[in-house]
């Protein structure tokens, strides 16, 4: 009996869930996993998942999202791969590699941010091109959150340390950059409100295009991922920017992640970053993290007090299309394993 590669729709769902639980290292109950799986794999329309099976048992998986991107002023579909996992005994025999090659034979270019050590070792050998790194930033707001974040490498000891130290708030308000006009305002978007106009705004040479369905998908995420907050930025009555953030309540308090910032003009990013950070502070975030390849966003975050952390490598695959150039806006708004569980 040999391994076969099939689409998720033809795979045994229980077996796939078991494989994913192993890959994610979660000890979720069946109910939590089923709810998460239903949202993650069933609640979106822009994905394609390949499963490697051996006698009906799932032994490898590779998921992908296909999202429109702005590339030098034009919309083009780009595939973002994620959840690339294979049982070790099959990995050695190239099953994971074969899954990726199947994806690489599809027409869309593939974008990969980060990845495990094995992934980062493999993709250059498959002739993927390297793009500029995405930078990671962290704003420690409370002592507990800061210790927990910085001590995450210590595993549960970092958490234990965070619980016993006094929780001192280091920052309540930031000095917010000036809005672009007297009538500029920030509105919170709720689930289901169309954001068609957001799809047309772009200031970068390469950036994901926002659409209502993907924002609704995030907004309807199960509790284990926290709450997604979407802010719309208006000036002179028009939408000129969007930020997507995630708020989670952890054992030591709240933690936030700025998933994505999107602007009609680069000079608006300071304002968008400042308002987003203040909103997250007001909502009780004890630490705010952000990942971005945009140098303008990076400068804005550093000006607000964010610390730069180890960058994330970015890779691009297409047999013929050259990698994008110019100002890239690559963030955590991509295939969902960028939105790691805390």
């Amino acid at each position: 009996m040999s391994v076969s590669i099939i689409p998720l729709s033809e795979a045994d769902r229980a077996s796939v869930r078991q494989l994913l639980l192993r890959s994610w290292g979660r000890d979720w109950t069946d109910e939590v996993m089923e709810r998460y799986f239903a949202w993650r794999y069933g609640g979106r329309s822009n994905g394609e998942t390949l499963v490697a099976c051996d006698k009906g048992r799932s032994v490898g998986i590779l998921d992908s999202f296909i999202r429109p991107y702005w590339i030098a002023g034009r919309w083009e579909p780009v595939r973002e791969t994620c959840d690339w996992f294979c049982l070790p005994e099959y990995q050695a025999l190239g099953v994971g590699l074969h899954l990726m090659r199947r994806m690489m034979s599809k027409p869309e270019p593939i974008l990969l941010l980060g990845g495990s050590n094995d992934t980062l070792d493999l993709v250059p050998r498959l002739k993927w091109a390297r793009l500029p790194n995405a930078e990671r930033y962290l704003l420690p707001v409370s002592t507990r959150a800061a210790v927990s974040r910085l001590g995450r490498r210590l595993g549960r000891y970092g958490d234990a340390l965070a619980r016993i130290i006094p929780d001192v708030r280091l920052l309540r308000r930031i000095r917010r950059p000036r809005p672009p006009s007297a009538n500029a305002e920030v509105r919170t978007r709720t689930l289901g409100v169309p954001v068609e106009e957001a799809a047309r705004i772009v200031a970068h040479d390469f950036a994901p295009a926002l659409d209502t369905s993907s924002l609704d998908w995030l907004a309807s995420a199960p509790d284990v991922l926290g709450e997604f907050v979407l802010l719309g930025f208006f000036s002179e009555g028009s939408l000129v920017g969007v930020s997507v953030s995630r708020l989670q309540t952890l054992s030591f308090g709240g933690e936030a992640q700025i998933v994505h910032m999107h602007a009609a003009r680069l000079e608006l990013i300071d304002w968008i970053a400042g308002e987003t950070v203040q909103h997250l502070l007001d909502r009780g975030a004890g630490a705010i993290a952000c990942e971005t390849s945009c140098p303008v966003s990076g400068r804005a975050l550093r000006a607000l007090g964010f610390l730069r952390r180890r960058p994330v490598p970015v890779h691009w695959w297409h047999a013929n299309k050259p990698p994008p150039s110019g100002v890239l806006n690559l963030t955590s708004l991509r295939a969902d394993d960028a939105l790691a569980f805390a």
Binding site: A52, A92, L97, S105, K106
Partner: protein, 98 residues
Amino acid sequence: MLGRDNKRRIIFGTIVELLTARSSRSTLAGGVDESTQLIEVGLIDSTHLLDIILEVEQRCAVEFDPTRVDFDGALTIGSLVSAFTPAAEAISAAIAPR
């Protein structure tokens, strides 16, 4: 153009060469053939196996297709050799409609 047998011999030779370079096991000194099990040469559950697969692909212009490997039987060097296909053929199989 190389015949199938020739190609097979080249792939086998390349695998043995790479194995020899990476292994200090006495099995190799005693010789290996297509019936030698991968476990005998210390290649099962090893990241080296993936390295060898990639190296053979590059040197021999072939692509490894694990769907051609029978995971039920003992994995031999011969079964590994059989799973290599000409690169163009592997790409066609991958994109063919299911």
